[in-house]
Subunit: 197 residues, 4 copies
DNA sequence: CATGAATGAGTTTTCATTCAT
DNA sequence: AATGAATGAAAACTCATTCAT
């Protein structure tokens, strides 16, 4: 099994270059949402992005590097949302913060269920680079901090359980065709509160 | 994307043939548990199974057919276990039956987390054959029947939520290296009871 | 710079397979003699050999592996010839054995000068596998033994000087279009005897 | 095989431009000495030279043109040295002039053996431009003139033999790690005098 | 039935070269 | 002149699948 290089190659400086990188990432995400990992080929990504295959490889040394970068972006955005959700947690009720967290979780996954599932599966075999591992750790810490602030026993395990259960549930709903975020949110709330009760 | 033929080719009658088919399935499962979908190649499966690539294609017309057959077997076994768990549900408490169901769920996934995750992901893009779709439907029905027997409102959605949340949670625990089925079982119980409360 | 795998993949057992491997090696040698290293591509080798690109990769994991195998074969044959030349050296005059050695050297290079030159250059950047390194060492030892048997001082350095000078000279003659082995042989004799005088 | 344009594009007039050209040539030579022909890529040359790829193509229309120019420079310098060595040949002994010639040959190759070898191999497939062919011819003529001045029979062939043998020998010594020019010089002297005896 | 050599479409990837800024 | 983003032809290499023995 080859170990692909995953660090981005050069940081785009000119505006044109930035646009190319964004086009590549969006094209890849789009392909994943439509057809999953097995339809993601570098040539197809380049074609959908409207750039040449050479341009793609200017910025990403491998397919894995693109996947890794999408994961990193998604994680960064999720972390931001979760941190925003817990920002005022010291002045808020447990329920209020939890609701914000769950809304963020639902929003980040429900509308791109195949993409989410593909990235989640990709994570299981990609050697994530440092930055993404740190992001994952911070996401986890955000949840653990929230749980500990409310005296939940065994917060680390509880955080992991909740995160993985919620991921599964939201993906399941999305793949089944659900689009009503509010309805799903209420069920995730029941799940989370029930588990933590 | 080509649409692969997925029905097994010929039902093996002779003992030697049955042994080959089992060897193929076990080899494939083993490869999935070790390296995931991207390491599953037909030549490698044949090699690990100790049969020639020609023999493999005697019994399975495509790689997808092997995957599908593994899923079918797993599902059939799970269905059996779930049906056994609900067999006496009319004479038992809600809690007693639920515990049996969850034990079955934990047992079926915890010790092969990468295999479970890979199959789950494979399901999202494979065109499952009739028999497996029926099995999935029966699994679902078993849960729905149990929930309805205990007057749970919105049983179909609840069943789906629980199944996908539990799958996520058990996989998450397994991938994190947990092996204590009893401890995990207790947490799944909390999750399920909490959600249904 | 990637480090290509150079060990042959599978040893051909059936006659058909052996024929394929020979066809590949001959095609590669032919291409090198006609156009040099820069015209040697795996697809072209397969085409000239009359096998599919897949077949080529069944037996050689990389272009480098093919080159390495050609070098190994050439070296093995040369070693054989040199050993034959020195077989009777204890009962022969210095001049008699030297003549045999030089005839072998001229024969092994003169008629394929571009091939020789390409392989020689290839050796300078290929990570030769064990077997070929051993062959090179044995070739060297054969010359050193011959020189020491005749009380030549500084035999190891003299052997290296002679081998590299003769290689250069024979290649030079071949590339210049010479084909008269006898005439060239006589000049190599002058060179060698002069250097050792 | 495409036939690349090899004549330099424009003669740099400004000081900055001359500096760029020199940087390019030195970078290319450096890369050849470190990694050989297969590591010589235009983008890498530009990077090492500290100029943009666009600038490189301002002065050289192709990769081959750079190689050709390096060869031309090397040859020009060697010719100068050889001509200097034979300048006084009419008033000197055969041995004295030969020694000067061999010192020049050793100096020009010993310290950059991989570069020498790469250029030598490159010459075998590059379509050398007029100027370099003339230089090569002049180098040859210089040797031939020297040999004929001392009544060597068959001077043209002898010149070729000596040049190619010495090239091989000096390269061989360099690649083997020798750095003592004096010691090597003495052995080349033995080789040349022996051959011409 | 079993074998394993052979196939070739499809992918990844490189790198010389062009061209808009 | 200089820059560096973009190009795409061409190469390396994989792997599902077929078929002669």
């Amino acid at each position: 099994m080859k170990q692909a290089q995953i660090n981005p190659r050069k940081t785009p400086k000119q505006a044109r270059a930035k646009a190319s990188v964004q086009a590549i990432l969006q094209a890849a995400a789009h392909i994943l949402e439509r057809g999953g990992l097995e339809t993601l080929t570098t040539n197809y990504v380049a074609e959908v992005a409207g750039v040449s295959i050479g341009t793609l490889y200017q910025y990403y040394p491998s397919k894995e590097a693109i996947l890794t970068d999408i994961i990193r972006q998604k994680r960064a955005r999720l972390l931001e949302d979760l941190q925003a959700a817990t920002l005022a947690m010291r002045n808020e009720s447990f329920d209020a913060t939890l609701a914000k967290l769950l809304r963020a979780a639902v929003e980040s996954q429900l509308h791109w269920p195949k993409l989410s599932k593909a990235l989640e599966y990709a994570e299981s075999f990609l050697p994530l680079e440092q930055e993404t591992r740190v992001l994952n750790e911070q996401i986890n810490q955000t949840i653990v901090a929230f749980l500990e602030h409310h005296q939940v026993a065994g917060a680390p395990v509880a955080a992991r359980d909740l995160v993985s259960a919620l991921r599964g549930m939201i993906d399941g709903a999305g793949l089944a065709g659900e689009t009503d975020a509010q309805a799903l949110f209420e069920r995730t709330l029941r799940l989370a509160k029930g588990y933590l009760a």
